[in-house]
């Protein structure tokens, strides 16, 4: 795989090349950094830590039509998925999250919608040089320049971006834009190491997950769950902003006699999550739901797929309205072990 340099002066041309496809990148909209389609002439905004909402929407839309039908009818009409997407400026944690979620969507059943969208997306990552206050990716197997899930990694070297192809898709992208790129020198790679090491140094928060996955089942009845869930509002902020959360709900939506079956993100923190038709809910309160969130990420997923379903992006900590802090919860878990 090749590594190339992109001088920042050529950045607009580089972006211009990509806008021929469906290009998604962080942009400032309504004073907020968010992933959004980049129209021609628009610039991605890369000088920020990370978007509030992760880009999982691109492969796992918050609302997705599975098929359409008529009430009382018998035919279904499935949407066509064939548009290629380039996700530019994705942070390593978010890219890693997709690799983690892939396991679920290709486990007992290959989810055709998810698989197709994954196929259609090219992930162009941007290594972190200024991690956020609540980042803890190294604790859970990631890092500021992790390449997992990326097709291409960009590292900001000041005047240049270093572009490293990770996959064939990334290689193809380098080929397509070759005329804008320069060859790398050794100094560039050293510089890259420096940038990444410095970034890693700046990460303040950490937790050693050693022992947590195996220990969690033993804490099922521990009083810590009551403590950490008491203030939970039961909103979906932590899960909707989590790049690895992937629960969904399937609904038939009807208007008049037209219907569609669609799926939408669901959140294990919602009261109606796992609510049975009978009215019984095996997770009747915020306690069980909070416990489920942590267990799902740090135990069930590890059991099943041998990986923690948390990438340490810190979003849930940043935006929890009542300061429920997953690192603090994990610390309490460790203490209780």
């Amino acid at each position: 795989m090749s590594a190339m340099l992109l001088n920042k002066e050529k950045w607009p041309d580089f972006v211009g090349k990509l806008t021929g496809k469906q290009l998604w990148a962080p942009q400032i909209k309504d004073e907020q950094l968010r992933f959004a389609p980049v129209a021609e002439g628009e610039e991605p905004a890369l000088d920020y830590k990370n978007t509030r909402v992760p880009p999982k929407n691109v492969v796992f839309p918050q609302t997705e039509t599975l098929f359409r039908f008529q009430v009382d009818g018998e035919e279904v009409d499935e949407p066509k998925l064939d548009e290629e997407v380039v996700l530019l400026g994705v942070r390593p944690c978010d890219a890693r999250s997709m690799v983690i979620v892939d396991k679920l969507f290709s486990w007992d059943y290959d989810d055709p919608y998810y698989a197709r969208r994954r196929e259609l997306v090219t992930m162009v990552g941007l290594a972190c040089s200024e991690p956020g206050l609540n980042c803890f990716c190294p604790s859970v197997g990631g890092g500021p320049a992790s390449t997992e899930g990326l097709d291409l990694l960009m590292v900001d070297l000041g005047e240049n971006y270093l572009l490293e192809a990770i996959t064939e898709k990334g290689e193809a992208l380098i080929n397509e834009t070759k005329e804008l790129l320069e060859e790398t020198r050794d100094a560039n790679l050293e510089q890259k190491e420096k940038v990444i090491n410095e970034a890693a140094q700046k990460i303040k928060r950490s937790i050693d997950p050693e022992g947590i996955p195996v220990g969690l089942p033993g804490l099922w009845e521990d009083s810590l769950w009551q403590r950490v869930s008491a203030s939970c509002l039961g909103c979906g902020t932590c899960t909707f902003l989590c790049p690895t959360c992937h629960c969904f709900d399937i609904q038939d939506e009807t208007e008049g006699f037209e219907s569609r079956r669609c799926r939408t993100w669901d959140s294990c923190m919602f009261e109606e999550y796992t609510l049975h038709t009978s009215g019984h809910n095996p997770r009747p309160s915020r306690l069980e739901r909070t416990r489920n969130r942590i267990n799902h990420k740090y135990n069930y997923y590890v059991d099943k797929f041998d990986v923690i379903a948390c990438v340490g992006c810190g979003r849930c900590i940043n935006l929890c309205p009542v300061n429920i802090d997953i690192v603090e919860i994990l610390k309490q878990v460790k203490e209780a072990l």
Binding site: Q70, V71, D72, G73, T254, E255, G256, F257, E258, G279
Partner: protein, 666 residues
Amino acid sequence: MTDKPKVGVYICHCGINISSTVDVEAVEEFALKLPSVKVARTYSYMCSDPGQALIKEDIKEQGLNRIVVASCSPRMHEPTFRKAIQEAGLNPYFLEMANIREQCSWVHEETEEATAKAKKLITASVAKVRLLEALEAKEVDAEPAALVIGAGIAGIQAALDIADAGFKTYLVEKTPSVGGRMAQLDKTFPTLDCSACILTPKMVDCASHPNIELLSYSEVEEIGGYIGNFDVKVRKKARYVDFDKCTGCGECAAECRVANRIPNEFDQGMGKRSAIYLPFPQAVPAKYTIDPENCLYLSKGKCGKSPKCQDVCGAEAINFEQEDEIVEFKVGAIIVATGFDPFDASRKPEYGYDDYPNVITGMEMERLVSASGPTGGKVMISNGEEEIEPKEIAFIKCVGSRDESVGNEYCSRVCCMYTAKQAHLIRDKLPDANIRIYYMDVRAFGKGYEEFYDRVRRENVRYIRGNPSEIFKRGNKLVVKAENTLTSTPVEDEVDMVVLGVGLEPRAEMRKVMDLLRLSQSPDKFFLEAHPKLRPVDTATDGVFLAGCCQGPKDIPDTVAQAKGAASSALIPLARGKVTIDAQVAEVNEATCRGCGFCVEICPYTAIEMTTVNRFGHEVEVARVNEALCKGCGSCSAACLSDSIQPKSFRDRQILPQIAALGVLK
């Protein structure tokens, strides 16, 4: 589980009323393509027997379970088609009508637009009918008894009719005697029957009727329940006289230390009574009552050495220890006959009622001319200086009626005639008196009224058109200042006596009854009937009926007629022994109700109350609908934030698809 909906759509030509504007064949073709529609047909008159037969046949043969009839307004034929589908074995509430006549073919000219609209309306009806639920009109037993509130002529008549029909009747009267206003009257117009002579037998009847339980000197305290099953609580006020022991001899009253010192209500305060009293000689029941406010013993704790009444009562009926008693019973229907108050003439200060003793009201005049009145029927009046027999007499009509300045726009309906009657009575007693009647209009609409008015005019009673503006004193005379509007001349007549033809007003205390029975007032402040023309004795509360002047001013024949009407209405549930409760009522989902009570606040029928239920070990408050009181208006539902109370057949889940169906068709 309900079956999958199989809808039949029936499109009526209505002769050519619909089909000349709506392309019914095109609509039929369209309807067949709608979801769940198995059959669509057109027919010349769907409401005709063959039209209905068509529907019934399809229900039986094609297994239809939901019916849409696209024809005239549901206000017209909904009952017809409900009955038809019920006869074919379907639940009558599995019907929805699309109004393609009144609201389509008759109001749109172009076939294209009318047809397009008919399609939309049918689409919406199909969308709703698929989701309708089977409903059952419930029946509950009705208590075979009635309550009549107020024992004036209206209440007496209503009670007698119900009792005569064989049902127990509770007749509650606030004052110590039945009889009401009519008992105070002297003669009645236009026949000049003696009021007491025709009323007294009825009063006696109702006291002795085996089916009537007379609760005099009593007030209704609480009414709960609903038609067929009202729970009534009545307070029998303490009379301080043992009802059973009192013989009505009257010795107590004669001996009372405050005898002849207390203004007698029955005589409009013109006569005097004792603290222990019988309101009037013919009072029923003929039992004495102590007025606790004026009785020295009861109000001050001391009456000489010992109360004289107690001393003289041979029957030992006086009991100062007596307390109010609460009586409870159940009834199936209620008649409100609480009557009226005469207009308070003080509210027209220009007429000097408060200033001059010789300005009196019509009601006072009744007592003055009555042989049993304070003067024994002699027309004598004080002019402020001395008692005189008036020579110059003026009547003023419409005092407190048809008068926006006092808030009464209505006509009191009796003043024209009672004034004429009183003029006639005075003419009888004082052949030489000069009698003038100031009037705006003369309304002599009843049977024999115009004739009577003519007769009075021929008896040298002068009718002067013009309402007086002022009455003032000049010497020992009163001056009536007016303008004769027929001749446009100002008039200043000096008279000895003025009779104010006061109108009728709602009872001052009617609010209490309103609250007890959830009644409303019409703009004139009298009780509001359910419909001014077609349900004049009904109220918005099922099982509660109105009789007499509480509903609006009436003369005696109208009052009696209405009382009989109210009685016959009240007899319906009693005679049937059952009441049918509307099926389209609201229902609470107790699992989702959050107990905020918004619906309780809103319901105009107090059909909703909070009740405590046990939700998995926790006591929680939820709303519950009393189906017998609910009218299905749905006002509660629109305010329910958790969507937990829903009127059947008009549930959100039935209406929202209708909305959607109207939106999707372009």
